[in-house]
Structure formats: C-alpha cells, structure tokens
Symmetry: C2
Subunit: 405 residues, 2 copies
C-alpha cells in the first residue's frame, strides 16, 4: 500500500555503532521485534520526545537516564508501547534497563528504552530479558536494515536513509531509521527515529542540529492528527571519523545540517508514504501568509480535514473542501477574494470562486496521480509553511478497527 516507497537500497554502517535484532515474541510471532543499538564510548547523544502529557513509561525513563549519563545502548521493542501502564510500567522499563546493563557491564542509566505498539498492556519483561543474551552477542555494524524492520508495527515498509558527505576532505556518514504509520502528528518529535553519524559533535551543537532538522522534517508530517505517547527521535554522534565539528565551525555546520535534514526528511516522508491505508502522498504548501504561525495553521487545517483527505482518496478534485478548510483555519480578517488554491500547477480557486480557466478535466488529471501538491497563496504576507500528509481510505478505518483484535 505504501505510496511510491521502497525499502532503503543501502544503509551505510556508521563507525562506532553496532546493532542486532531478536525475535523475542513480545506480540508478533515469526518476526524480529526487539532491536539493540550499541554506541561506542564517548558518543554524544541528543533526543527529542513526545509532548503528549501521557508520556509512555519508556519515554519517562529515557529522559531521566539521558539527563544522568552518556548512553551506551538503545533498547527498542515493537508490539507493546508500555504506555498508560502507570507505576508498574515504569518499573518494567527500569528492570529491562537494569538487566541489560548487568549483562552488558554498564550502568543502568546508560540504557535508554523505547517501546512502540499497543497502548495499555503490561510489557512482557520476561520475554525481553530472555532475548538480551542473543541481542548482545549478535551486535554487528551492518544491521541497520534489520533494525528498521524489527521496530515496525503497522508499517508495511522498513524505513531508513543514508548520506555520505565530505567535510575537510574526509568522509562523514549519516544513517537513520524510523518507524510509524498511524497515530502520527509529531509535536516537536516523531514516532521512533534513530539517526547516527560518525562525526564528532559536542552535545550542545548536536541538540541544535537535531532540533533544526526535526523542525524541517518530523514536525511537518501528519497522518491523523493523533500525537503518540511514545514519539522519540534520537541523534547519535560517535566521533569515530576524523571529522570534528566545533560549535564555531560554520563551514562544516551548514553542509552537515543540510545532510542531516535530508536524511530526516526522507525518513519523515517515508512515514507518510507508508501511512495506514494511504494511497496518496500529499504536500500542502501554504505561502503568502502574514506570519509563520498563520501559514502553519492553514496547512494543518487542510492536512487534518477528513473531507479533504477522502476527496484525495477518491481522486476527486473536490476543491470546495480545501476552500472550506482554509476558511475555518482561524485566520483573522482573511480577504477571501485574494486567496488562490492550486492542485499541482493548476489554479483552481481565484477571487473567492473557481478560477476562470479551471476545468474539471484539468483537476482530474492531477488527482489521479499518487504524489500531489495542494498550493495555497493567501496573498497577505511573505511567510510560508509546508506539511506532508496522506489520504484517508477505507483501509485506514479497517486497520484501526482491527488493530488489537
């Protein structure tokens, strides 16, 4: 079902990172559902987490551990989110970190736990703990693709991206993986995403790089407006390459930020392309707004409209629904006679009504595509914002009616 999305052709190993996967039988049978990521000592780590008030237990524990120590392991399971599980859920997350740390010979705080899957059920800690020996034994640098597959839930395609860039004449690798297909409306974070580079980057700068890249990637996607309780995005710099990025080194920062953003946009778009039941990949591009917030609000009003999403599922150029969504976005004193709405390059609305040169045939030629841009020019300022989203299909309803059954 994924819209124009293939599994990543090649995910480059990152010096200083080893990964492994195990079929722990947490919920699924006959597939891996636990991934372990090991970071070389002295790696720096930055992370952003969900802003949902009901943060899941592993998110709370990961934030706490990250504040206390430099992490050595990311422990990720699919099939159970350990969310809405109260104090027992916190204890479950902590005992997993403790048991892994004992076996790996590190401190409990050096393990960050991540969980994704069903909300509200106890984590089967015995199954996870039983899988730790194999997970630690099988760590290898080349298992990014396997890890991307192990963390999938309703995802249909594994998601990963790699870039190599040359800084100071030396190669730097960035590789990332992500998962997510539903309950997607990241709020300064995403579903699960893990990105690593072998460059040496101080923590403060790493955080800045991450926040800027998240703003341009995961903060701009929505499937259903539902912010998860388990979102997390982790960026690791192992420092194993010879490239050292300093806070002041502007000539390195720009290309690194650019490559990192490219990787994260690719991952974010992959999540939307693999959105539950998706048949279309839609870019909502709002310009001419009086403020960034106004552009953002308009873009999300369109992207969250069930009626707009269903019109795209039906390949129906029902532009009235886009117009209605713009109209309810809460823009003060909007001069509707100035608003222009486009489907790809086709102008559909002008001067508050259908554009004079628009024909239904032109609209249909755009709507039968799988990748479509909705353009909105408010003609009242210089601010713009874009967001990526999917359509709303029978299968979205089916998947979410059947999930848990």
């Amino acid at each position: 079902m994924a819209v124009g999305l293939q599994p990543p052709a090649q995910l480059l190993p990152v010096d200083g990172i080893r990964l492994s996967v195990v079929a722990a039988g947490i919920r699924y049978q006959g597939r891996s559902d636990l991934a372990l990521i090991e970071m070389a000592p002295d790696s720096n780590v930055a992370a952003v987490f969900t802003r949902n008030a009901f943060r899941a237990a592993p998110i709370i524990v990961a934030q706490r551990h990250l504040a206390r120590a430099a992490p050595r392991y990311l422990l990720i399971n699919a099939g159970n989110a350990n969310s809405g599980t109260g104090k027992l859920g916190l204890e479950d997350a902590i005992v997993c970190c403790q048991k892994l740390a004992e076996r790996a010979g590190c401190g409990r705080d050096e393990v960050l736990p991540f969980s994704t899957g069903v909300i509200g059920q106890r984590l089967p800690t015995d199954k996870l703990i039983a899988a730790f020996p194999a997970a630690l034994e099988q760590l290898v640098p080349g298992a990014w693709q396997l890890a991307a597959t192990a963390i999938m839930t309703t995802d249909t395609v594994a998601k990963g991206a790699s870039r190599t860039l040359i800084l100071d004449g030396k190669p730097v690798v960035i590789t990332g993986i992500a998962k997510g297909a539903g309950m997607i409306r990241p709020d300064m974070a995403t579903m699960l995403a893990f990105i690593a580079t072998d460059a040496a980057i101080p923590r403060a700068l790493l955080r800045d790089l991450l926040h800027e890249a998240v703003e341009a990637s995961f903060d701009r996607i929505t499937v259903d407006g539902d912010t998860s309780t388990n979102d997390a995005c982790v960026l690791i710099a192992t420092g194993k390459s010879d490239v050292v990025i300093e806070a002041g080194s502007a000539e390195f920062r720009a290309p690194l930020q650019s490559a990192l953003t490219e990787v994260m946009v690719e991952l974010a778009q992959a999540i939307v392309r693999d959105a539950e039941g998706a048949t279309k990949f839609i870019t909502v591009d709002v310009c001419g707004a009086a403020s960034a917030e106004e552009a953002r609000r308009t873009a999300f009003a369109i992207a969250h409209s069930p009626l707009v999403k269903i019109a795209f599922f039906a390949s129906d150029p029902n532009w009235g629904r886009i117009l209605a969504a713009v109209g309810r976005a809460g823009i003060e004193a909007l001069a509707i006679e100035r608003v222009e709405i486009f489907l790809d390059q086709v102008c559909v609305v002008r001067q508050g009504g259908v554009a004079g040169d628009y024909t239904e045939a032109k609209g249909r030629r755009v709507m039968i595509k799988t990748d479509i841009a909705i353009g909105v020019d408010l003609h009242r300022g210089a601010h713009a914002f874009h967001v990526w989203t999917s359509d709303l299909s029978y299968d979205y309803v089916r998947i979410n009616a059947e999930y848990r059954s």
Copy 2:
C-alpha cells in the same frame, strides 16, 4: 444508519408561519429540494451564521438583508451550496431573492436565501425561479415535516422538534427543523436550522435567547471537525400568540430559554445521530478542568480523534487512544496520575494507568452499546464541558468518496 433516530412524530404548527416545498430538480430527481418559509408581518428574527472565512454567497446575502429589513421569507434549497462561487454566486443568490420578492409582493431585502449541497458549482437559478409560483401558492401552516425533508442532503432522517409550554396561563409553541450529517463542526452556528415560536419577543432578547441556546446545542456537536461554509441557524418569533416576553420578564425568560434549548439540543443531537456513516452516538463529558476552555479543548481533542472514533466503530474498548487524545489536548502541567477516564460508569484509567478493577469484559459490555458516554475527570478544577459526536466508519469514507460522483 441513523443511531436511535426516528423522524419527528409530530411537528406543531406555529401561528404566523406557513411553509411549502417543491421538487425544483436542482440536483436530485423525484424529491422536493426547495423549501419556503413565510413569516407573518412584524415577526422578529435572529440568526447566527458560520464563522468560516469562505462564507457562501447565500450567507453573505442573508446577513446583508437581515441587517436592512425585517424578513418575510426564508428561501432554502438543497443540492447546491452556492459556495466558492465568487461574484457570480452572489448575483445568483440576489436574483433569486429579487424574483421571489416580485412574485410575493415584498422587498428583495425581505427574503433571506439559504443553500446546502455541493460546493463550487453555479446555482441553477432558472430552476429555482420556475418553482417560485408553486412554492408561494402551496404555503400552509402544517408543512414543517415536509420542509425538514426537502432540505436534506446526505441526511437519512428528517430532523425536527416541537415543544409547547404554558406561560402566563397561555400556550406557546416552539418548532424547529434542521439538516446536516457531514462537514459538521459548527462554530457559533450550525448547519441549517430554522426554529419558530409564536411568542412575541423583541429582537435584542431573541438574539440573546438564540446565542445561549446555540452555545448549549449546535456549538457542542462535531462529526468531522470540518466547519461548513453554509452554516446558519435562524430563530423566528411571530408574536401571534398572546404571550409577550419582555426583556425584563425574568419569570418567562427562564422557561422559554429552557424549552428553546431543549428543541435545539434535540435538533443538534439528531444531526450527530444521523452523521454520515454513524453507528454510535458518543457523549464526551469532561469535568474537573481548571477552566472552561481547558474542558472544551479536551472534549474536542477526544471527539476529533480519528483513532478514538474508529475504536468506537469497532466496539473496541481501546482506551489508550482516549488517554493519548487527552494527553495531546495541550493542557499545561497536567498531572496525569490524577486523571480518571470512564466508559459510561466503568472507570478505565486511574493514576496514569489502567484502573485496578477494570477488566476488558467490563469495557466490552459498554462498547457494544450504540449510545456511549466517555467521561474524563481531570481533577484540577470545577469546570466542565460536554460535546456530542459520532464514530468514524467505512461508510463515512464511502459516502464522502462517492459524494459528487
């Protein structure tokens, strides 16, 4: 498909109001699609309209006419919303008022036009105008039910409600009709609703009564979060009964407000019960909030969550989705360990996790019902808000994918 909703058994005539319907062939064949409501001279009229910036042409014209003159006729058509039609749409709405006024012998400003149906197509004014002679000839007091049927679009059941109350020993009648099933998230207004009483009520008081009743009824329903471009709610006081309500007459105002609110709540709930594809009628009841806005925001976050709505469609007590929706409602410093979530009387979430005495069987017993209440107690204040909504089913997607085809 409507959830526990029957057509109104009896809609009482209101002295001073005559109605008629005609099959004008605007879009549908073999059914009435034009309704005319005539008000006795000296009737007072109050109205609220959509806050969507893209107000439809008839809304703009109705607001303008209402500001200029005391209305004598409400002209309502289904099948075409005359929205997103720019200047031509305005001219179309005006010419309909003009032609009806000429034939009826009143001023153009004394006609208020209302349209509902497809957005973005020119109104076939010739078909409407051709229907005016029959519409004027057939005006009768007892055609409320027929009018409720004529204004339906994707509605499956005609919606109306009546009350009689005794004020000062004399009977007062309130009768109203409404339509709407999708693109429902009224913003200080509703889909189309027309309510009349034979009491004599000055205009300023009529406006207050209307606003208060709208706040308790149409402002508390949502089907899909999509605010229509054509929403309007009109309240008429013909003054034909012997009951005169003055602004100061407190002992009359309370029972009248109460009866009016009852009628409008019945109409608003009927819209949700007949929501496109609905199989459940859901009351979201938030209490213990620190402010009214906080309670409101939490209730709508739950009511707009596609994942919550699909869980109800599946009769699945997937309370984690409710918890996630509460968590993303943007409540500052929410103490999640205090939050309680209920399905009807069954406590599901307590202290940030599943309630100790909750069992899946208890949850399922609630979820198989068609009328279900979601209760949320934030335990941080004394404010409450409730909202009525429907589930999200395959049929909602089907109806909105096929509509227009």
